[in-house]
Each structure stands twice: as C-alpha cells, then as structure tokens.
Symmetry: D2
C-alpha cells in the first residue's frame, strides 16, 4: 500500500509498504477524510519526537472499516468510523490509574505517526477497535467530524484541565485550531468573559463565533497588562494554554487569581524549563494550580463529541478553511500546514 511518510527529519515522500498486520482486537481502516496537524509539521521539520524513518504520517481521520480481528464485536467491514488521534490500551496500568492517554508510558496512547504508521495511507491499523473506534452518525458530516479526532478533543481538554465553571472569567492563549476549540470548550462549560489571545483576523472571527467575548492582540502590548487592565487588576479565574511556548506559563501565572488554574494542552517542543515566576505564584502559597496533559481519546470520547455536533451545540466545520479532494492531495495539504498562510485554520483532504 501507498502512504505519505516522514523519510527522516526534514523530509517527506510517498512510500510503499505492506498492509499492516492486525490482531484479534484490531481493525484495518481506509481513510475517507484526513487532516494534517501542526504536530505532523513539528514531527517532520523540527524533529520534535526524534528521528523516524519511513514512518507514515497523519493521525486525524474519518475512515471506513476494511478488516476486523476475530474478537471485534461492534464494528464490521464497511462501517464508517471516527478514529481518534489517541487510541489507548485500555487495560494498561496507567489506564486503570485514570490516565488512558498514558497507557504504557507517558503519551503512550498517541500511536499514529508516533510509534506506528499513521492514517496518510491506503490502510491503517487501529488497536482495540471496539474501544477506540466510534461509529460516524448518519447525521454528522465526515468532513466536519475529522476535526473531532484531535483539534476538538484537545482544545476542549484545556477547559477540562482548568475545570472551567459557570461564570468563570477565562483567558485562552492561542487561537489556532486547538485554541479555538479551547474557546469553544470554555464557552460550553459555562465561562462568561473569554479573552482570546491572538492576532489573525480569520481566527479572531471564529473565536468570537465560538464564544470569545474579546480578542487580545499581543501586538498591542503585553498580554498580562491587557488582561489585568480589562479585569481591573483582578485577573482571570482560568487560563487555557493552546499556543505559545515554555514562556507562556509565566504570563498565565501572572494573570491568574489566587485559587485559579491553568489548563494547558500545548505540546512544548523546545526549551529546557517551564519557568513559574515565584512572586506572582504567591511564593508557592497561592493555590494557582498547573494542569497540563494530552487529550483523552477512545470511543466514548468521540461519541460524546459527535453528540455535540448532532445536537448542533457545536460546529466543527468553522475550523475548516481549505478543502482538498483526492488521496494524493495529502502532500499539498501537509505542505500548506507547514507554510501556514494567514488565512489558514485547518485544511482537510477528502479521499
């Protein structure tokens, strides 16, 4: 089979591989819609997860089941499915401890385009199919649904990590596709004021549609100062980090109330330390909680997110700015993601 692979750091190309083997609990899936992710870009061009050779890229997809192992009960050939980016080993120690996304090891639930070949292929492998696939509901557009697999779940998780409550004032740092979903997640969990930090007009527009009450443009001054000014010095209840870098946490701490919380879903690709400013962290006494983690995945997560689309509580299609048609367009879509033109939020490839 054919796939678009990372040949090595800095290089991509089409390769031929055998179709993946699958075990009794697993499935083989053919992608019908895929989307490239910023982390594919980091993986290839920044070497974020280290060297990989001929590893097929891609972890966001809607697919059709092609084969299932003999112990798979709920899925069969031909089923249309949502395939989450995170596919845990559900019986693992860390899953039992409450952290399936870390099954096996930290981040061990993230397998596609990390430990194994991803979905930019004619076929790909899904472990524990009954637990990790979700049926695509008839009334959900597969193109919109591909956003659920990573962007939506990751963005929402920032709001979950920060435990956004009814009437909370929230700052969301970063309004790329993940951050936009953090805005939507905060809004859906009951935030009132949502200050969304970003500058690109298209993202700002979607942020507002998703519930942001104000856009904070970092080009117009220090964002901490802007937030403190808008909150009359009080700061915010919660900060969601969906962009920036290791230094973003210091800003978050400075704009947070005592007893507030940070929820971060940002993959920190470089820098030796995240530096928490001692004074503004109230000399370690201020109950400013720092929560950061990989999104949950798996079937139930996808079903819950899909139910929000079905009930029109949430519209992931707002994120999609560029559409490609045809299997071979994966490459162009990925390169677009790398180039990141100013009007790009998220491209998809319909196969």
């Amino acid at each position: 089979m054919k796939g678009l692979a990372m040949l090595g750091i800095g290089k991509i190309g089409w390769i031929e591989k055998d179709a993946p083997k699958y075990g009794p609990l697993d499935a083989l899936v053919r992608p019908i819609v895929v989307a490239p992710c910023t982390s594919d870009v980091h993986t290839v061009w920044e070497g974020a997860i280290g060297e990989r050779t001929d590893m097929i890229l891609g972890h966001e997809s809607i697919g059709e089941v092609v084969e299932v192992g003999e112990l798979v009960k709920d899925f069969k050939k031909g089923d249309k499915v949502i395939v989450p980016a995170i596919t845990p080993d559900w019986g693992s120690i860390n899953s039992q401890r409450g952290f399936p996304m870390h099954s096996g090891e930290a981040l061990g639930g993230w397998k596609f385009s990390n430990f194994k070949d991803g979905c930019f292929a004619e076929l790909f492998h899904v472990n524990e199919a009954d637990a990790n696939l979700a049926h695509l509901p008839d009334d959900v557009d597969p193109v919109a649904a591909v956003m659920l697999t990573d962007m939506t779940t990751t963005g929402f998780h920032a709001a979950e990590l920060a435990e956004v409550k009814l009437g909370d004032t929230v700052c969301v740092i970063g309004i790329g596709p993940v951050g936009l979903n953090s805005v939507a997640g905060a809004n859906m969990m009951g935030a009132s004021h949502i200050y969304a930090v970003g500058s690109r007009p298209d993202c700002a527009r979607v942020a507002k549609e998703y519930g942001a009450t104000e856009i904070i443009n970092y080009k117009q001054g220090d964002i901490v100062d802007q937030i403190l000014s808008k909150t009359k010095g009080a700061g915010v209840d919660k900060v969601l980090i969906a962009g920036g870098n290791v230094d973003t946490f210091a800003q978050a701490i400075k704009m947070l109330k005592p007893g507030g919380a940070i929820g971060s879903v940002n993959y920190l690709g470089s820098g030796e330390f995240i530096k928490i400013p001692r004074i503004e962290w109230a000399v370690g006494m201020g109950h400013k909680r720092i929560n950061a983690g990989l999104t949950p995945g798996g079937r139930v997560r996808m079903e819950k997110l899909a139910s929000l689309v079905q009930t029109e509580k949430y519209d992931p299609s707002k994120l999609i700015t560029h559409r490609f048609e045809g299997f071979e367009k994966m490459e162009e879509a990925l390169l677009l993601m790398k180039d990141k033109p100013s009007d790009l939020i998220k491209p998809v490839v319909i196969i």
Copy 2:
C-alpha cells in the same frame, strides 16, 4: 413601613411594621424589582414551612441600598444591588464545611420569608452586606436580573449537583422557571441531548431556546419509557429534578445509566419518603448517585451569574411573562403565581 405578609396559613395581607434594625455588618435595602416565587405560594397556602404570623413575604429582589452598618465597606446608600434569596452567615460551621446555604442549620442560609421578613416591603434587612449583596452592573437590566436571585441560581444548581460534563445526555424533569434554568444550566455546562419533561407550550418554547433538544410530554406516555426509547435503552447520563414530587426520584433512577447522577433542587413539600426502586438502583451497586440541595447564594454567586448576562451567554428575561408596575401590585403578582395560568412562567413587579 408597609409590607405584604403571610398573616397565617392560607392568609395574606398588607401590614405595617417598624423598619428592620440592622447591625454593623448589615444593610437596609429598598426593593426596586421583586418577583413572587412558587415557594411563597407553598409557604402561605400549603403551610410548607409551618405556621408564620405577620411575616413579610418575598425573597427575590433587586434593590437600592438605603442604610449600611458601620463595618460595611463595599456598599453605600444609593447603590443598586442584586439580593440573593440565600444570604449565608459566612463564618458559620457549615459554611466552613463547604455548605454556606446551611449556615446555622440545614437551609439556614434561606432567611427571607422564612426566618425573617422578606422583600415585599418598603425596606428589608440584609445580613453581612459585603458578602451577600452584589452590585448590579450598569449593563444589566434590573428586571431581568431579579431572576438571578433564585430561579437562575437554583436551576443551575441542579446541573452542578449532577456534575454535567461535555457531551452528557441529560433529562430535566420539570420546566417551570427553575427547570428551565436547569435546562439552561445543563446546556451551559456542555450537555448534548437535553430531554425536557413538561407540557405547557410556552415553557416548552423557552426550554428549546435554552438548549433542550427534545420535549418529553408526560401526557404522551410514561416518561421513563419515552426516555429509554429515545436513548435505545441506554438511559441518560444525568437527571435534573426541578419539579414533580417524592415519586419523581424513582423515575429518575429508572432512566439513569450506571454511574449516572441525579441533581435535584426540588423542594419536597409532602410525602413521607423518597422511594428509590431497589432493582433499578442496581441493588445498591450501580453508582447511581443522588445529590440534592438548596442553591448556593451570596455575593460571588450573583456576580458570576450577572457576568453571564453581561456577556450575553444567558438571557434570564425569557422567563418573564408578566410585568406589573407599582409597589402595591405585589399582591396581584403573588395571586397570579398562586393561580398559575397556563401562559405564566414568571411575573415581576417593578416598583
């Protein structure tokens, strides 16, 4: 001063009283908008809280500060304020235990028209003014804001008690003014499918506007059967009880998934027992949690709710179906609440 009082069980009338005394932490407030509550009706005509003599009614009001005690710092004569129905003694044992609404004793935070004169008067007393009053923001309509003091906070609390999460399927039993807010609260906390149980068309319309995805009319068959049918036998993640009686809990248990939760804010005025069906409660083994309690009150709660109005995340004015103008119209409004015509959700009196 003049006030509309419960003279005894079954009897109301206008009485004259001295203006309330107030201590160093307290305030005297003049109502500018009030609303009668179903519990005023229960108090008078059903004797729900026992005999009371010449007790001024009313616990939902927006007011203007007339006097403050010498230790009050944040409020002064002339300030427009939101006065929550629940005004805890914040230093009490139960407040420190995390339950300020039960300060002193169970339900001890509910003082107006319960332990002391209420707001259907020319003046009324507010304990711990700095902690229990909230400034009415300039951009919030006082007529809409009077809903926040009880209807909104109580309705939302059902969703909080049940811990509604992103993508939960929820059934809300009862769509009077509290239940409508339970719908809104569930929706604002991220529910997807919201089944709202009720029959009155005006309520059903507002329920849909507040996020209900389907109306379940109990006149069209057993509600448990209807819910199980709509969920293909799975039941719902959460049931919010904002109406019915002691028998409603059995229905809720029957439609709940294992691991689901009930959040009830219904004042149970009669019946000896709430009966939990043993089999459907999974012989006491199913983790179907039962949480029920009085709404939180106080200043911060009101500020948070008001912020949801300010940011246009929530519109309490949808609840108001009848408006009266003039102090003396309190009586008419209360009698309307007693009569409960089919087009009534909530009346207000603008003074």
Copy 3:
C-alpha cells in the same frame, strides 16, 4: 475438572466440567487459597441473582497461573497471583465512562459465580489477564491476601464513596468482614471518631483494632438516637453502610449532617424500595449525598491494596477466624459461612 457448584437455588454439590476455554488475552488459574463469601450464600440459598444451574461458586482467590493466552505479556505459567472478584472488560463503554465495574452492564465486572464459573474449581478462567491479575508479592502471605480480592476492596470502597476526609466523624453500619474493612478504610482515609454499629464481640474487637473509637450496639437502643446523643445532636459527617437492608438508609440519613454523605457497598437482596425520609433529608435540600456502588476491581486496585499490606499499614489477617486445608474443604467452609456461628468473621481454604 472438579468444582463446587450451585446446582440450583438451595442446592450445592461437586460437579465435573471441562477445563474452561480461554482466549488470547485470558488466563487459566489454579486456586491456592480461596474464601467463601456471604454473597455465595445469598446466591445459593436466597437465589439473590436468580436461578443458576451447575455454576461453580467462588470469587475470592489467590492462585497460580496455569495457562495464558498468546497476547498475555506480564504473566506466565507458575506465577502466583491475586485474582480480584471484579474483573472488568477494560475497553468497554462503561469502563471508559469511569465505571469499569459496570462493564457491559450494571455490575458486569462481577463475573465469577455470577456470569461464569467461579474459583471453587481445579481451574478457572480470568479475562484480560494482564489487566485483571496482580502478582502476589513475595512478602505478602497468600492466606491474608485472599481478603484483598473482595472483603478489603469492597469495605474500603464505602469510605471512598463517602469521600472520608481528615478529621471526619464517621458511622459504619455493619461490622461483618466488609464492614470491618469499611472501618479500616475510614480510618486509613483519616477519620477521627468512628462509630461502628454491631454486636458480636469478635467483630467489635477487630473493629477497635481497625480504628473504631466506639461500638454502637443496636441491642442497646435505636442507633440513630445513640449516634445523635454521642455527637450532641450534630450527627456525623459520613455514614458507611456495609450491612443491614433497605431500611438502613433511613437511619443513615437521620444521623447525617447537612452536606454529609452516605457510602454504601451493601448488596440489597430484597425489598421494593430504599426509603429516604423526606423531613430528615431536609426536604430534598440538605446536600445529604447518597453514593452506593460495587467495588472497583482489576490489577492496579489489587496492587495498591497489596502495597498497604507490604508496608504494614493494614493487616487483613485479622479477619480470618477459621482455616481449612484441602481442596475438598471448600464445601465445609461454605456451609460454615451459611451457618455463621457467632465467632466467625471469615473462613479460608488453603489448597
């Protein structure tokens, strides 16, 4: 193979069966220590779970691995293992929802002597061996360890369900082997006053050793009166229910503070309703939470409990009052459990 079975309601006997088949994730285990459980007695002589024919009994065992499926990684023939009474399907919908004990359906994680043959046999089947077996540590006595599989985990779960906190005042109703573990669990989670309700002297002695500060003998008066008298009318923060029947909940509600919680692990075998007294439940407004459920199971749970034995924080051997040696003694041990002499807490059979 040979096994001690329920032949039908009210009848037990030794039967011959084929060794169980096992799948790629499963294991076959030979018991080395087993214990009969009160629920075996209920199953057979009260028909608590309905009719069963030739079903091998027993769900508490320490064993030795005899065979493993080809996908099992962490266990091999000859390994000594702790086998929890509850062995979830870890990828199931309810497991992903946070309730693995309800995998498949309510109580679906309870398989032995319920849906499939139990451990009173020469061999028994364990599903998802890597996730459901735990290695027996060298420094843990297998005889003591058999208590962990059900008695300890179930008893502790009552304290978890009630969320016992440092300095809480707790009442534990029932001091059979499960209730004694609820005492131990409450004590290990930081309870101060622990009132243990029971009457048998041997149980009372162990209750004190496990941290009970006072024994409440129901033969000496109404237990609610006794608790309220001892707490000067305040009641307790938490009530753990590990005995009694459907009527026990009314007592629990009556002795609970506003904002308190019930944690129940009692299997309710009969009665149509659990009746919650409306007045003492503070007319549904008192935040007296009711949590009740089946114990968690699986590997990590067993490892955590075993670590408490290894570090001498908890001694399960106090529960064992009767020891039998030899496979065929299972019958005698089970009948002893049925007869329940006054000096019995828990018998074990060493094979």
Copy 4:
C-alpha cells in the same frame, strides 16, 4: 502590654504597646502556650515578607479569651482556645470562591506577624472570633495542641493538595516539623510506601513513627535516582514538598509518574523562578499536576485536627523537642529556632 517584636529586618526586641482594639466580632486573647515558627525566623532575619517595624511576632498559640466583641456568641472570657495561624475573613470574595486563606488578597488569611501583631504578647487580637477560634477540648493537652495551629494543618495540607489516595506511593521532601506532618498526613490519608527525604536522625525517627516506610538521605546520592531505583523506575504517585527551595520542584517532577501530583506547602523565600523540566514534565502532556498553597485555617479546621488528637489517631507531641516555661522565654525559644541545633524539631513556650 509587652510583646516580642521584630524591630526591623535582622532585629528583635521587647516592646510596649497598647492592648489591641477589637470590633464587635473579634476577641482579645492571652497566650498560654506559644511556639516560634521558622517563618518568624525568615520574617526577621531574611526579611522574607519585607520590612516591618515594631511588629509583634508569633502566630502559633493556645490561649485564653480575655475579651469578646458584642456579636461574639460561642466564646466568652476564660475560654481556653486553639488559635489557628490562618484566620480568614470568611465573607470575603476569595473565601466565597473556596479559598478563605486568600481572603482579601493572596495569603490574606495569614494576619498574625504579617499584617498585624502576633501572639508573642500579653494580649493579641483575633478577627471573627466565632469563626476563627476553636474550643480546646478538655482531653487535649494545650502544649501538644499548639502544633495544630500551623505545623499540623500546613503539613497535612500538602497531602490534601496532592490528593493522596489509598495505596498511593508518596515521597515527602523535607522532614522538619511541617514535613513530618506531611508524612503523617499522607499516612492518615492512606499512603502505602512513604519515602521521606531528610537527614537528621531525630526527624528520621519521628518520620518513621508517623508512617514513613523509608528515609531517603540526600547525602547518599541524588534523591531522584534513589526514588527511581527504589520504585524500579516507576516513580511515585505523589510528591509532597515541605522543604527545599525553588529547585525542589524539578526533582519532584522527575520522580513523578504520569498522572501524578505535587502538593507543596513550602514558602518559597527566594529565587526568581520555579523551573519545571520540560522533558520530564512530558513536554507539557503528562498530567503531572502542580498544586501549591497556604494551609486552610479557621475554627472547623482546628476542631477537625483536635478530634484526631482526641481519638489518638495522631499525636502532635512527638514534634516537641524543647520546652520553655515563662512568658519571657519566647525570646530564647525564637533564637533557638534561628540556631536550629540538630536535635531541634519544635520548641514551645508555656506561659
């Protein structure tokens, strides 16, 4: 009245002041047992909270009520009381938000020897007496009880912040008087393995008595290496920080499992940043939570801690290594705390 004061940074001395004024909710208390705290030492000799002039020191005391304001109900002249180091304004915004220790501002609940005169005086002032004093039970030794006011509550809070669960493996960094209480707190919340990091033999002995299973001596090698070696590379579930400095957090992160949590109660007196190592924090994806905050205070907290002493679940007297008698010995006790001889855990002064 006379008091032992900080005259300025680096200088202490006895001064004369008027007795404090008190308001209607407040009390004047005469100390009967006091203890100096390391933070008194930091305050004076390191200028940790900035310049102070003629501020009376001390925030740990058992006292006798001398005067009460006219609104105080539960305390009267002559009552023996436990006075917590943290005495919140219970109606404040942050108290209502769930963080009374931050009433007014971050750390605003810490008033004694910070914002106002402390307890090293003939008389001292207590705000909101009904909410902030606790009756000293007859059966609790006042000398032991003075530990509860700060050492116990602070130490236990680390275990609460990290949410120690039954069977957790815990590392406690620092075994001074606070860290010893973190050991005790972790043990009382159900930890199994408790690795206590420290070197002084007297502290190590008490750590073992309080539940530590192993002492990790940092003089014998890197503590991260030691912990990883003892846990076979797995790391610990929770790290409690009760000593060290801003660099201690990096060690904590490195020894923590994915999904683990830090609970820190260490006052961080110097250093610009707390540095979280990016790689070991799993690139911001590992759910290694960081919780740090000032202890709760107030009446109920003290009552709960006292109940643990009454029921002999916890013995604070183990912490007391040096006893002084006489008011004027406060100076000697404070200087001893400054000198910190190797056999010192905690001194008390009995007046």
